[in-house]
């Protein structure tokens, strides 16, 4: 089963990371899920694939009433992002799924009805959660062509989807980045190959560098905190992407 770690807390305003399942089957990529709670409501960020649903659900439900999940934020359309959608909807059929307008008619293949989906425009949008304002931030072509990240200005927390992802070897899978230079080696090949556009990368780095961020939370690998956030943005800005076979 997965482990939950509260990585931000201010009263009932929380960010909970759901991470690292020792029983995960090796052929499934490891993913991080994040739960944001405020005012008794919850938003689940990239809830993960159907096959890991039991592990994510059991961990989440130890922290939070799954029927109080108001929504799911899907950064993009990949199966490791939200193929579990239909299963989460069993616990609250009124739940909304926020997704780029680009994938508005693709994601329903994972479940849900016409009322389930909120199509996010390219410019991003504000998402209300129990009195808290969250911001969907454009990150198109990084890697998906319709891709959004989520910023919580009040908590200074930033969910970065596949950006910042690292494929960590066994034994080096701590929740937080401890040694940036050692860690980033496990992120380099992923970013070169999965991220498709240097232009998109540049504009994302400019946009995100202006934000106050304490933690940058990727969907795979470890969380960047403190000075490592800026270190990561600078590293990413300098990395040539859209490269095959290097």
């Amino acid at each position: 089963m997965k482990t939950t770690r509260t990585i931000f807390q201010d009263g009932d305003h929380k960010w909970v990371a759901i991470v690292r399942d020792p029983e995960r089957k090796g052929h499934l990529i490891d993913t991080n899920e994040y739960l944001v709670t405020h005012g008794g409501q919850g938003l689940l960020l990239d809830p993960g694939g159907a096959e890991i649903f039991p592990a994510v659900f059991s961990a989440l439900s130890a922290e939070f009433d799954p029927s109080a999940l108001a929504g799911i934020f899907a950064s993009h359309q990949d199966p490791d992002i939200c193929s579990s959608l239909a299963l989460w909807l069993e616990f609250n059929p009124q739940m909304h799924c926020y997704v780029s307008w680009l994938w508005r008619s693709f994601i329903p293949h994972f479940g849900g009805s016409a009322d389930t989906f909120v199509a996010m425009p390219d410019a991003g949008m504000t998402i209300a959660l129990g009195g808290l304002s969250l911001t969907a931030v454009p990150a198109h072509y990084l890697h998906s062509s319709g891709n959004l990240h989520l910023y919580d200005a009040q908590a200074r927390m930033f969910f970065s989807g596949d950006v910042g992802a690292a494929l960590l070897p066994p034994g080096e899978d701590g929740l937080f980045v401890e040694d940036f230079d050692a860690h980033i080696r496990h992120a380099e090949a992923f970013h070169r190959r999965w991220m498709g556009s240097n232009e998109a990368k540049r504009s994302w780095c400019e946009r995100v560098a202006k934000m106050d961020i304490d933690m940058l939370c990727p969907q795979h690998g470890a969380v960047y905190q403190g000075a490592d956030v800026e270190r990561f943005i600078n590293w990413f800005d300098a990395l040539p992407v859209g490269v095959v076979g290097s």
């Binding site: 201010d10 039991p54 659900f57 059991s58 130890a62 009433d65 239909a86 299963l87 069993e90």
Partner: protein, 221 residues
């Protein structure tokens, strides 16, 4: 603002209070899908043969007209065969529709099985009290889908029986036409050939339908 990582570590409860039925319905539904797909293929080939029969019936009518009074009985029968071939085509259309519906329902049941398995595992490993009710609602929904499949299965079986009876009647017509062909004087040989071909094709369809009625898709449920 904001306090920093509380770092509270809480592993999810890893107990399994419910049996995890990982075998059983899934292989059955998988086999059903395979069987219904085979039925579909077979029906498609019968539909093709039914088209051939239509053309053969038309040929028989023209031949009977050319033979005139010498083949009056054959003419009557060839008209009957033409009606039969049209009915057969309609019947095959209906069967194809029913098979499509069965493929759809079997697919829903297969999806339900995976969905319920994951839900059951999740609820079993969680300490959250509301899980049992959600699982029960899902199982009731799956049960409704199973009942819908059973109803479709029965409808398909009935339609196959009806088609089989119709084809048996067609066989009788074809055999009668073979007998009438003998009275066709100078046309006797060609009439015999046409009615013989007709009989052969009807027999082919009859065998196909008989095999379909014996499919395991309808058995042991």
């Amino acid at each position: 603002m904001g306090t920093l990582p509380a770092g509270t570590e809480r592993p999810g409860r890893a107990s399994a209070t419910m049996p995890l039925a990982l075998t059983g319905p899934a292989p059955q539904a998988g086999l059903d899908l395979l069987r219904i797909v085979r039925i579909n293929e077979e029906i498609k080939s019968v539909v093709g043969v039914a088209f051939r029969i239509n053309i053969m019936a038309l040929n028989a009518i023209f031949l009977a007209k050319r033979a005139g009074t010498a083949a009056r009985g054959f003419g009557v029968l060839s008209n009957e065969l033409r009606t039969f071939s049209q009915n057969l085509r309609d019947c095959m259309g209906e069967l194809s529709g029913l098979v499509d519906a069965c493929v759809g329902e079997v697919s829903v049941v297969l999806r339900d099985i995976r969905h319920t398995r994951l839900l059951r595992q999740a609820v079993a490993a969680s300490s959250w009290a509301g899980g049992a009710a959600v699982l029960a609602a899902r199982q009731a929904e799956s049960e409704r889908h199973l009942q819908r499949l059973t109803a479709r299965r029965k409808a398909l079986r009935r339609a196959l029986d009806d088609a089989f009876r119709m084809v048996e009647l067609g066989g009788v017509l074809a055999k009668s036409a073979k007998i009438e062909a003998a009275y066709g004087q100078s046309f006797a040989a060609s009439l015999a050939q046409v009615s013989g071909e007709f009989d052969g094709v009807v027999e082919e369809i009859r065998k196909s339908l008989e095999a379909l009625r014996r499919s395991d898709f309808f058995g042991r449920h």
